[in-house]
């Protein structure tokens, strides 16, 4: 276990993994988009506009997922003092924030034909917006601490506080929204979605997840190089390849 957690070993492992993960991402994306744009039929109410869902939903899902990963890795780093967890946690935020942004904009682009307005204080859009603010706060804190170890631990605490708060925020926004928003009322019920639409959706979610890990690995390799620049193995790595 210790061997796998050493930055040196991980650097090499990640270097071998990235091309494979990148290839998998590309295949998943191509199949998902093909199914989503060409095979899946139009929706009975929203027509073709619902196809935005195939990027919106994965982005929204990833925005939550990445925050959870970030906080989880942060907790591991805080408790067991594992460097790799620290590094992983620190590279999550920019990717997560960009997915949140994507979810917000595509949600807005969906809202225009659906609700007739660019922005509605819909429960999901609103909590996504607050999640975006949480990411921004996280990145601002990360950027203003120079020492990477201190930055990692401070942001891990922030992420943990955020993760406790996210369900609370989500619930309160949902409740608030149902009181004020005439457009949608969601009570208990199962989402009903036709299999021909579900398949590309799941494929896209999977593609985005693999994509995230690919990017995270690349970022982690950069971070490892920078943090370990005093060691001899980094010097060797720098010489070996151009």
């Amino acid at each position: 276990m210790h061997k796998y957690a050493s930055p040196k070993f991980f650097y090499a492992l990640a270097g071998q993994l990235t091309p494979w993960l990148g290839g998998l991402t590309a295949i998943l994306l191509i199949v998902g988009i093909y199914l989503g744009l060409f095979i899946a039929p139009a929706d009975y109410q929203q027509g073709e506009s619902y196809r935005i869902m195939f990027v919106h939903v994965p982005a929204a899902w990833m925005s939550m997922f990445i925050y959870m990963m970030m906080a989880g890795a942060g907790a591991i780093a805080l408790v067991w003092n594992i460097k790799l967890a620290e590094i992983f946690s620190s590279v999550c935020a920019p990717v997560g924030a960009s997915f949140t942004f994507l979810a917000l904009v595509t949600g807005s682009l969906w809202g225009k034909p659906m609700w007739g307005t660019w922005w509605a204080w819909d429960a999901r859009l609103t909590s996504e917006l607050i999640l975006f603010f949480l990411y921004i706060g996280y990145m601002a804190l990360q950027a203003s601490i120079d020492d990477p170890r201190r930055a990692a631990r401070a942001t891990a605490i922030l992420a943990l506080v955020g993760v406790v708060n996210i369900p609370v925020i989500h619930f309160s926004v949902e409740w608030w929204n149902t009181l004020h928003q005439p457009a949608s009322v969601s009570k208990i019920g199962t989402p009903s979605i036709h299999p021909s639409m579900l398949a590309p959706l799941l494929l896209m979610i999977f593609a985005f997840s693999v994509y995230f890990f690919t990017v995270a690995l690349i970022r982690m390799r950069n971070e490892i190089l920078e943090r370990e620049r005093h060691t001899s193995w980094v010097a060797q790595v720098l010489e070996s390849k151009t």
Partner: protein, 225 residues
């Protein structure tokens, strides 16, 4: 008296004494609260019905911002003069000591806001039955603001741009309190049963009391290092 209680009493008294001797520090957020709320009628017009409908939100947002302004006082001075280091080196659990400091902070920021809010409620033409609700909702909500704010203040200790940074970190976390605090007052105006809102504000308070002192203590340890 057991040493821990003794230490708690001592720190609480010390923080209150220091704050009272720098009275501008306490007054600034309160005056800010007054001014911000008073500006809204000037911007929106004095129509009582319109003011009444926005009053709960406006007063609550102003309370949020006023609390933000005062967060700096919580740890920054102690950090600058080295007394925070001494606090960390005390044999007592830091979580408890931090909670004491937060309590002192609330007593000098949150509590005055609560006490002064009826004045603003009258200014904003809130109906009499809503004034009590407003005071009660602030009484339950402002401690949460101090508790969550302490985490932000501890994380940004000694960083450049600390003041603005703390608002980025903390304001998004304040949304649930804002929603249910203002929601309670709006509900009472609309004559809806609002026990649920108060229950939830109480739940937030319990949750914040459980987690925030611990997170603040951890953040202080990181920031002091």
């Amino acid at each position: 008296m057991p040493p821990l209680l003794n230490a708690i009493g001592c720190i609480f008294r010390r923080d209150i004494t220091v704050a009272l001797r720098r009275s501008t520090d306490i007054l600034t957020p309160i005056i800010f609260f007054l001014i911000v709320v008073s500006l809204f009628p000037l911007g929106l017009g004095p129509e009582p019905a319109a003011l009444r409908s926005i009053a709960p939100g406006v007063i609550w947002v102003a309370a949020l911002l006023a609390t933000m302004l005062s967060l700096n006082r919580l740890f920054a001075n102690d950090h600058a003069d080295g007394t925070l280091e001494q606090l960390l080196l005390s044999p007592h659990p830091l979580t408890v000591l931090v909670l004491t400091k937060i309590a002192a902070h609330w007593a000098l920021t949150g509590l005055p806001l609560v006490l002064i809010s009826p004045l603003l409620a009258i200014q904003m033409h809130l109906p009499p039955q809503a004034i009590g609700t407003l005071v009660l909702s602030l009484l339950l909500g402002t401690p949460v603001l101090s508790l969550l704010g302490a985490v932000g203040a501890a994380l940004t200790l000694g960083l450049r741009g600390g003041g603005v940074l703390v608002s980025l970190l903390v304001l998004p976390l304040y949304t649930p309190v804002l929603i249910f605090g203002a929601g309670a007052v709006t509900g009472v105006i609309a004559d809806i049963d609002i026990e649920a809102q108060f229950s939830l504000l109480g739940a937030f308070l319990a949750l914040a009391l459980t987690f925030a002192p611990w997170a603040t203590a951890a953040a202080l340890r990181v920031s002091i290092e």
